[in-house]
C-alpha cells in the first residue's frame, strides 16, 4: 500500500472528483463525506510519504512502470515530501471548516463546488509531486483552471477579477511552457533530474539563460511577485470564503515551491547563483515587494483585501530568501512555504467565520467581534502573531532564518524590509483588533454593561480553525526538528 502513496495522492482526489460530480446528481448530501474521505486518504498518504522519506531518503515512483527519461516519474525528495502534507492538510481542514459556509452560499451547487475543489487539490499536489517539467505545466493549468472556477463563485465583482487573473495566469503558465521548450531544445529531455544532469556543459548557452529567465518570469507571474501581483488582491477578495481560504494559502506557496524546485533541482544553485549573478537584483525586487505589499495593505479599510496584500508581501519574503543564495536564506524560504501556508489559512478561515456570521469583512463590520466571536478572534490573534513574527508561533522562526540569511549574505536591505514589514504588520493587525475590541459603547466609561452575548460561528467551523491555530504554535516549537531532519537535506550540500 505505502508503495503506491505517490500515485494515490493524485489519483484519489482525481477519481473522487468524478465520483463527487456524479454523486451530486444522486444525492447532494453524499458529496461532502466523499470529498472529506478522499482528502483524508490523500493527507494520510502525504504524511506516510513524509515518514517514508525520513526513513529511506528520496523515493522515485515510475508512473505506469515506464522508466525515466521516457516515462513520467514522481520524485519524492525532502523538499516536496515536506510541502505535500501541508497542501493536503490545509485542503482537508479548510474543506471541513467551510462545509456550512458552502451550503450557506450556494445551496444548489455544492456538488460542482466539491468537484472543483478536489480537482484543484489534485493539481496542486501533482505540481508538487511531479518530476517532469511538462507534466508540471499541465498540472499547473489544472490547478489554475479549477481555481478560476472556484474564485469566480463569489460576489458581483468576482467574475471580472477572476477573468483578469485568468489572463495573467495563462500568460504565466505559457511563459513557463516556453521556457521548458527552450530547455527541451538544448537538452532533449523533460525529466527534471535528467535535464539537471545534461545542463552543466551548457551553462554558458544563451538558450539556457533564456529558458531560465522565461521560466522565472512565468512562475513569478503565477505567484504574484511584485510588480506582477496586480491580479491577486481583487481575485482573492471577491471570491467566496471557502475558495479564497483554499487558494490564498496554497497557490502562491506552491508556485514558490516550483521556483525553488527549478533553482535547486533543474538549474542547480551553481548556475543560478554563481554563473548568473543576478541574485542581488532579485533580492532587491523582493525588498520592494515586501515594502510595497505592507504599504498597500496599510491603505486598505477592508480585512480580506488587507490580508491579500499581506500575501503579496509574504511572497516577497520567500523569493528574497530563496535568492539570497545561502543556506540560511533557502532554509527560511522553504520553512516559510510551510508556515505561511498555515498562517494564511488561519487568517483566511477567520475571515470565513466572520463572513458567515456578520456577512461582511469591511472594517466597519468588525465592531465588537471580540465579545461576539471570542474563539474566532483568538485564532486571529495567533495567526496575526505568526504573521508579525512573535515567538513561539511558526512565523517567527522562518523570519529568523530569513534574517540570518540576509545577514550572512550581507544584504541588510532585505533584513530592514523584513523588520519593516513586521512592524507594519503590528500596525495592520492591531488596527483590526482595536476595531473589534472597542465597541460602540466605548465613549462612556463602561461598568458592568455586558451588552449582548456570544454569537460564535458553528462548532464545525471553529474547531478546525482552532486546530490550525494550535498547529501554528506546534510547528513553531518543532522548527528545530523540521529543519534538522527535512529541510537540511532538501538543500544541496554545495550550497553554503
Amino acid at each position: 500500500m505505502s508503495e503506491q502513496y505517490p500515485a494515490l495522492l493524485v489519483v484519489v482526489p482525481l477519481l473522487s472528483a468524478l465520483v463527487v460530480s456524479v454523486a451530486g446528481w444522486v444525492n447532494k448530501r453524499l458529496c461532502f463525506p466523499i470529498a472529506v474521505a478522499a482528502l483524508g486518504v490523500t493527507a494520510w498518504s502525504c504524511v506516510g510519504l513524509l515518514l517514508r522519506v525520513l526513513d529511506e531518503g528520496v523515493i522515485v515512483y515510475k508512473l505506469g512502470g515506464w522508466t525515466p527519461p521516457m516515462g513520467i516519474a514522481y520524485y519524492i525528495d525532502y523538499l516536496n515530501s515536506l510541502v505535500l502534507p501541508v497542501v493536503s492538510i490545509v485542503a482537508l481542514l479548510n474543506l471541513i471548516a467551510n462545509k456550512k459556509g458552502i451550503e450557506q452560499q450556494f445551496p444548489d451547487k455544492t456538488g460542482p463546488f466539491y468537484t472543483l475543489y478536489l480537482l484543484m487539490v489534485t493539481g496542486l499536489l501533482g505540481i508538487v509531486v511531479t518530476g517532469d517539467a511538462f507534466n508540471l505545466y499541465v498540472l499547473l493549468e489544472i490547478a489554475a483552471l479549477t481555481g478560476y472556477g472556484l474564485l469566480a463563485m463569489g460576489e458581483e465583482r468576482a467574475p471580472l477579477a477572476t477573468l483578469n487573473y485568468l489572463y495573467m495566469g495563462t500568460i504565466g503558465a505559457c511563459f513557463y511552457l516556453l521556457g521548458v521548450g527552450y530547455l527541451y531544445i538544448v537538452t532533449g529531455s523533460l525529466n527534471m533530474v535528467d535535464i539537471a544532469g545534461l545542463l552543466p556543459p551548457l551553462y554558458q548557452s544563451k538558450a539556457v539563460l533564456a529558458a531560465f529567465i522565461i521560466c522565472m518570469v512565468g512562475v513569478w507571474l503565477k505567484m504574484a511577485f511584485f510588480p506582477l501581483h496586480a491580479w491577486l488582491p481583487n481575485a482573492y477578495t471577491y471570491a467566496n470564503s471557502a475558495a479564497s481560504s483554499l487558494i490564498a494559502p496554497l497557490v502562491t506557496k506552491v508556485m514558490v515551491y516550483v521556483m525553488i524546485r527549478l533553482i535547486l533541482t533543474v538549474f542547480t544553485p551553481e548556475f543560478v547563483f554563481t554563473t548568473l549573478a543576478v541574485s542581488d537584483a532579485v533580492v532587491w525586487l523582493a525588498v520592494i515587494a515586501i515594502v510595497m505589499g505592507a504599504v498597500l495593505a496599510l491603505a486598505e479599510r477592508n480585512l480580506k483585501k488587507m490580508l491579500t496584500y499581506i500575501v503579496v508581501a509574504e511572497v516577497g519574503y520567500m523569493v528574497g530568501g530563496a535568492w539570497l543564495g545561502n543556506r540560511d536564506g533557502m532554509t527560511g524560504a522553504i520553512l516559510h512555504i510551510v508556515n505561511d501556508a498555515l498562517m494564511t489559512l488561519c487568517v483566511f478561515m477567520v475571515v470565513g467565520n466572520i463572513v458567515y456570521k456578520v456577512k461582511g469583512y469591511a472594517f466597519e463590520d468588525l465592531q465588537g467581534l471580540f465579545r461576539k466571536m471570542p474563539f474566532t478572534m483568538a485564532a486571529l490573534v495567533i495567526g496575526a502573531m505568526s504573521i508579525i513574527g512573535v515567538p513561539p508561533t511558526c512565523g517567527f522562526f522562518s523570519k529568523w532564518y530569513l534574517i540570518v540569511g540576509a545577514i550572512s549574505a550581507g544584504h541588510y536591505g532585505f533584513m530592514a524590509a523584513l523588520i519593516f514589514s513586521s512592524i507594519v504588520s503590528v500596525v495592520l493587525f492591531f488596527r483590526v483588533f482595536e476595531i473589534c475590541y472597542y465597541e460602540p459603547f466605548a465613549d462612556h466609561h463602561g461598568h458592568d454593561n455586558h451588552s449582548g452575548g456570544m454569537d460564535e460561528a458553528p462548532v464545525s467551523m471553529v474547531v478546525p480553525l482552532l486546530i490550525v491555530a494550535v498547529i501554528l504554535i506546534v510547528v513553531g516549537l518543532y522548527t528545530g526538528d523540521i529543519v534538522n531532519h527535512v529541510i537540511q537535506f532538501a538543500i544541496p550540500e554545495a550550497m553554503v
Binding site: 493549468e141 478560476y148 469566480a152 477573468l163 485568468l166
Partner: protein
Amino acid sequence: MTDLISMVVAKYNYWIYITLMMIGLYAIIAKNNLVKKIVGMNIFQTAIILFYVSISVKKGATIPILEHGHGPDAHHVVHAVDYINPLPHVLMLTAIVVGVATLGVALALAIRVYNNYNTLEEDKILAQIREK
C-alpha cells in the same frame, strides 16, 4: 542589414512565434473589450504551440512512423535523422486541450460578467463599479 535579414529568414519560425506572442500580449493589455482580450490570450497560447511544433521539424525528414515496424523486416536500424521528433507534437496535443479549456472558462466568465454589467467593455464596467 543583410545580416539581420538573413538571420530573420534563417530562423523565421522563431520570429513568427515571437510576433504572434506580442500581438496576443498587446491585445490582452491594450484592448478594451473582454472578448478581444480573450482572443489575444488565445493567440498568445497558439504562438507557443507553434513554437513547439516548429522545433521538431527536420529538413528531409518524414513523419515518425516506422515503415517496417512489424513483420519480417522489422529488425533494421532506425535513423533518427529520417524522422521528425514526435514528442513536441504529442505535448502540444495536451497544450491544445489546455488552451481550449482555458478559452472555455474565459468565455464562461465573460458571460457572467456580461450578465452582471450588461456590457463587455472594460471601461464601462469599471465605471459601473466605481459608481456603486
